[in-house]
Symmetry: C3
Subunit: 139 residues, 3 copies
């Protein structure tokens, strides 16, 4: 277990803008407050969502798109640097009108309404290629 103690430089709550992209909104918040690392949780709803699943054998993401309104029942992730750019690694649990839940790595989604909490860290989390998983990981 690699770990690091973090120094929090600020805590924020934000309202994601209707019509914007869910993940980009979180990256925008990080950029606006000058953070290159942080942890967030969020909830709300989207008009559609593109969910990724990582194939652990083929070492590639598979994509599924849901072109329908969905609640965002839980969303958790962190902000770091990937190839020098801000990247919000974002997982989410979504739901349909009958309560059925869908979940995974959310690459994109059109915000209907969203609320997030973000804790900015002093030291950047820098993602680098990890050989055993072929994923970009920090620490």
């Amino acid at each position: 277990m690699n770990y690091r103690e973090v120094t929090v430089t600020g805590e924020y709550v934000g309202r994601l803008e209707t019509g914007a992209d869910w993940r980009e909104e979180i990256e925008t918040l990080a950029e606006d407050v000058g953070a290159e690392a942080g942890w967030f949780s969020a909830l709300g709803s989207v008009e559609d969502a593109e969910i990724w699943f990582y194939d652990q054998d083929d070492k590639q993401y598979q994509s599924v798109t849901f072109d329908e309104p969905l609640e965002v029942a839980a969303c958790v992730g962190n902000v770091g640097l990937l190839d020098g750019e801000l990247f919000a690694h974002t997982h989410a649990v979504l739901s349909r009108p009958n309560g059925q839940a869908l979940a995974g790595h959310i690459n994109a989604g059109t915000v209907f309404a969203g609320e997030c909490q973000f804790r900015a860290f002093e030291t950047p989390l820098v993602r680098e290629r990890d050989e055993s998983t072929d994923l970009d990981l920090w620490l």
Copy 2:
């Protein structure tokens, strides 16, 4: 993206009381510690649950009730003021014995057991009608 830096006045852990209402328990905690805003995460189980889904076209909530024991696999939300009263905006992911997940906005649920973390903020989050979504949003 509208956002605000928050000042945390205290962090709390609480045990939700068996037989009480899941959402009201969180509002009770906020009231007991004198907070008009805050962020929480929680887990546990309920004896039943009423889940809401917001119809983005009709601008109305639809309700589904699950009258069965369910795990609360994840629960996230925030406390603010709605029409001058404390309101815990609460989303949750629930599950059945076979692992099947259900999720959405949880309006009510009878606590079987529950554990929560709550971070109280100094400045109230005041919900007001938002024209484009017809939801009560803060910021």
Copy 3:
């Protein structure tokens, strides 16, 4: 509602090790930083998972094992002491390639990749048998 204000002694981010057990990794982090209580959130993926559902009538856990790669779309819980040992009470929402979500109390799971945030509390959370639920609860 029993609750306690907590004093945070440190906040950490960690990378769960590929091949290790998901829950044990969180307990290892708590042990490494000398914490007997804390709150965490996490995300990532596992190669398999053993999920528990608590039967509220029989007062016993039922187990379901998923022997397949799954995303960890959300994971929340807390660290406390159970019979004098560190115990990470861990709930998680998992997902399949088509987005289908599974959820519950995660007892075990082989980490493929995992990222967690942990806030260590000064005062231990000690679990003791609760008569009405027959669960080991703190506070």
